[in-house]
C-alpha cells in the first residue's frame, strides 16, 4: 500500500528487480546470441547440431548423450541412495534421539567445509588399494561416486527432510502405525515418506542438478571423461561456440526438470486414489 503510494519507493523497487533480472538474463542472452554465430555473418543452429551429433569416434554415439545419460544415472542413484540413508536416519534422530539433533545439524553441514578436491583425494587414497579397492571395477567406482555425491548433497537433503518431518506429527503417526502392526520399514516407507513428498521432491531436484553438473569428483574417479561435467569441461577447453550452445541446453534441461517435477507433484495430489475399494 505505502510503497504504491510513494512513487520513490516504488521506482526503487522496480529498479532493483530490473537490475537483478538483467544480471541473470543478459549473460544468458549474450550466450544465446553467441551460440548462434558459428557460421560467419549468419545466425545458425550449427553449434547445437555440432553438440548433438559430434561423435568421439566412428562407432560410439555422440558424447553429449552418453555423458548426460551416465551422469543422469549417477544422479538417480544418488537420489535413491541418499534418501535411503538420510530419511531413516533423520527420522530416527527426530523420533528417538532428539538429543543428537545438534550433532546431526552440525554434521550435516560439514560437506560445505570440505572442498570437493579434498574429498576426491581422500577417496582415491582410501579406496584404491586393498582391502577396499573399489576403483578396480566400474561398478565399484560408480558406487564411490554415488557415495561422494551423497555426502555432497547431504546438507540439502537433510535440511529439507528435517523440515518436512517437523511439519508432520511423526510421533503420533508413528505410534498409530506401530499399534496397527507396522514394523519400522513400514512406518518409514508407508507412513513417513508419503507425507514428505514436497521435501523429497525438492531434495531430489537439488541432488539431480548437483550430481549432473559435478566435475571434480567425477573427473577424478572417471578420468576417461565419461561424466557430463567432464564433457562440458572438455568442450569448454577445445571448442568455441559449442560451450555457449551447451550452456543454453543445460538451462533448458534444468527448466524442463523443474516443470516436470512440479507437474508430478501437483498431479499426484489430485489423482491420489484409494487403494481399498
Amino acid at each position: 500500500m505505502s510503497s504504491k503510494n510513494n512513487p520513490i519507493t516504488y521506482w526503487v523497487a522496480v529498479a532493483i528487480v530490473t537490475i537483478c533480472a538483467l544480471y541473470l538474463i543478459v549473460p544468458l542472452l549474450t550466450q544465446f546470441d553467441f551460440s548462434l554465430r558459428m557460421k560467419r555473418d549468419v545466425l545458425s543452429l550449427d553449434a547445437y547440431v555440432s553438440v548433438f551429433t559430434t561423435k568421439p569416434n566412428a562407432v560410439d554415439p555422440p558424447k553429449f548423450y552418453t555423458s548426460l545419460l551416465f551422469s543422469a544415472g549417477m544422479a538417480v542413484l544418488t537420489i535413491a541412495f541418499s534418501l535411503l540413508v538420510i530419511v531413516p536416519t533423520t527420522f530416527w534422530v527426530n523420533y528417538r534421539l532428539p538429543k543428537f539433533k545438534p550433532v546431526m545439524d552440525l554434521f550435516s553441514v560439514m560437506p560445505f567445509a570440505i572442498p570437493g578436491i579434498v574429498l576426491a583425494f581422500g577417496y582415491l587414497r582410501t579406496y584404491t588399494s586393498p582391502p577396499l579397492a573399489l576403483t578396480n571395477t566400474d561398478a565399484g567406482t560408480a558406487f564411490l561416486l554415488v557415495g561422494g555425491y551423497t555426502v555432497g548433497v547431504m546438507p540439502y537433503v537433510y535440511r529439507s527432510v528435517d523440515t518436512g518431518l517437523r511439519a508432520i506429527d511423526i510421533r503420533t503417526l508413528t505410534e498409530a502405525a506401530r499399534s496397527l502392526g507396522a514394523g519400522w520399514a513400514t512406518v518409514i516407507w508407508k507412513v513417513i515418506m508419503p507425507n514428505l513428498r514436497a521435501a523429497v521432491i525438492s531434495a531430489s531436484l537439488i541432488t539431480f542438478a548437483v550430481a549432473v553438473g559435478e566435475y571434480t569428483l567425477a573427473n577424478f574417479l572417471f578420468p576417461d571423461e565419461r561424466a557430463f561435467g567432464s564433457y562440458i569441461a572438455a568442450i569448454g577447453r577445445n571448442r568455441i561456440f559449442e560451450p555457449a550452445a551447451l550452456t543454453i541446453i543445460s538451462y533448458l534441461l534444468v527448466w524442463a526438470c523443474v516443470l516436470a517435477v512440479q507437474r508430478i507433484g501437483r498431479g499426484s495430489t489430485q489423482t491420489q486414489t484409494a487403494v481399498i475399494r
Binding site: L173, G181, N195, A274, V275
Partner: protein, 359 residues
C-alpha cells in the same frame, strides 16, 4: 480369569517417578478409565500397555501371555489419540484398512471389514475423503474405526474427546461406549474429566502422583472414596468441622448445634477438632419455619449466599458457621428456591457424612 493384568508397574524418567506400584486386573470386555489430574501418570501407564514405554519394574500379562517386553506392533493393541493421528495421505477407507492390510488379510475381506466399520461409525458416505476434509468429530470416529478394525485384544484411548466441542463430546462418548459394548472390546480410557470416566466405565482407576488412589465402580468411587484425594477429585465435596462433644463419641458441636456422625470417633479426645465431608446432593434445604421433623437427621442453620437455577437442579451457595457449602436440590415447581440472604435449615443423614480425613 483375568484377561489383562498390570502387575506392580513402575516407570521412572531419570530419577522422577512417573508411575509406581500400579496394579490392575481387568476381565475380558471390561471398560476401565484412568482418571486423575495432569501429570498423574495415566498416559505413561497406558503407553506401557501399548508397548511404547518399557516399565522399569513389573509385568503386563495379556490373555495369559507375558507381553512386558513385546514390541508394540506385535501386541494387538488398538490406540486412539487425542490428536486423531490419521494418516494424512490416505483416504478414510485406507486409514481404516491400514492395520488389516498389514495383517495380510485378503483384499476382498478388507473391503468388507472396512464397510462394516464405516457403518459402525455412521460414515458410509465419506469413505473416499481425506482426513483434512473431515470435522474433528468425524476424524476421531475414523481413528476409532481404524483402531478396532483389526479386532485388537485391548483398545486404548488417551483423552480421545478433549480436542472436541462439549456437545460432540457427549454424543461421541455414548457412541464409543455403545461400540465397545457391541464388540465386547477390553478397553482402557484415559481422561481427566470425572464425568466422562463415571459415565463410561465399568470401573475407574483414580490416580494421583503416579499412584493408584482407588479402583472401583463409579458408584463406589463416588460414594465411598478411599482417600481425601479421591473424595475431592470426584464430584464436589463440602468440608465441615466441629468439636467432639465427648471422648470417643459420635457427636460434634458446630456453632451452637449438635451434629451426629455415623461412626464413633474411637480414640479421639473430647473437644478435638473433627472434619467431615458432605456431597452437595446429600443436603436438603428446608425453610426455617419447618420444625426439625425427623429425629434421625441432622439439622444446621445456614445463610444463603447465592442461588443458581440450572433447570432440573438448583445449586445454592450457603454459609454455615463461616464454612462455605454447596447444596444441590431438585427443582420443585410448588416451592420456589430461597433467595440470597435467606436463612434455611439444612437436613442431612448422619450416614451421608464421609469422614475420610479425621484431623
Amino acid at each position: 480369569m483375568d484377561f489383562l493384568i498390570l502387575n506392580d508397574l513402575r516407570k521412572l524418567y531419570g530419577s522422577a517417578v512417573a508411575v509406581e506400584q500400579f496394579d490392575l486386573r481387568m476381565s475380558r470386555g471390561e471398560f476401565v478409565s484412568f482418571l486423575g489430574p495432569s501429570g498423574s501418570g495415566k498416559t505413561t501407564t497406558m503407553r506401557m500397555v501399548a508397548g511404547f514405554e518399557n516399565p522399569d519394574r513389573g509385568t503386563i500379562v495379556l490373555d495369559g501371555m507375558d507381553i512386558t517386553n513385546l514390541q508394540p506392533n506385535k501386541r494387538k493393541v488398538g490406540m486412539v489419540f487425542q490428536s486423531y493421528a490419521l494418516f494424512p495421505h490416505l483416504t478414510v477407507r485406507d486409514n481404516i484398512g491400514f492395520g488389516l492390510m498389514l495383517s495380510k488379510m485378503p483384499k476382498a475381506e478388507i473391503g468388507k471389514r472396512v464397510d462394516e466399520m464405516l457403518g459402525l461409525i455412521q460414515m458410509t458416505e465419506l469413505g473416499q475423503r481425506f482426513p483434512s476434509q473431515l470435522s474433528g468429530g468425524q476424524q476421531q470416529r475414523v481413528a476409532l474405526a481404524r483402531a478396532i478394525a483389526p479386532r485388537p485384544q485391548v483398545l486404548l484411548l488417551d483423552e480421545p474427546l478433549s480436542a472436541l466441542d462439549a456437545k460432540i463430546r457427549v454424543g461421541l462418548r455414548a457412541e464409543i461406549r455403545a461400540i465397545q459394548q457391541a464388540l465386547g472390546i477390553t478397553t482402557i480410557y484415559v481422561t481427566h474429566d470425572q464425568e466422562e470416566a463415571m459415565s463410561l466405565s465399568d470401573r475407574v482407576v483414580v490416580m494421583s502422583h503416579g499412584r493408584v488412589e482407588q479402583v472401583g465402580t463409579p458408584y463406589a468411587i463416588y460414594n465411598t472414596p478411599a482417600t481425601t484425594f479421591v473424595a475431592g477429585f470426584v464430584g464436589t465435596l463440602n468440608v465441615l468441622q466441629g468439636t467432639l462433644t465427648q471422648t470417643g463419641g459420635d457427636t460434634l458441636r458446630i456453632g451452637s448445634t449438635n451434629v451426629r456422625l455415623a461412626t464413633k470417633m474411637e480414640g479421639r479426645k473430647a473437644d478435638s477438632l473433627i472434619k467431615f465431608q458432605l456431597r452437595p446432593e446429600a443436603i436438603t434445604p428446608h425453610p426455617v419455619t419447618d420444625l426439625p421433623g425427623n429425629p434421625a437427621l441432622n439439622y444446621l442453620n445456614a445463610r444463603v449466599e447465592g442461588v443458581t437455577f440450572l433447570g432440573a437442579v438448583v445449586r445454592m451457595r450457603v454459609n454455615v458457621n463461616d464454612s462455605p457449602l454447596s447444596v444441590d436440590t431438585f427443582n420443585n415447581p410448588r416451592m420456589p428456591p430461597p433467595q440470597k440472604g435467606d436463612t434455611v435449615q439444612l437436613a442431612f443423614d448422619p450416614g451421608a457424612c464421609m469422614s475420610v480425613a479425621a484431623v
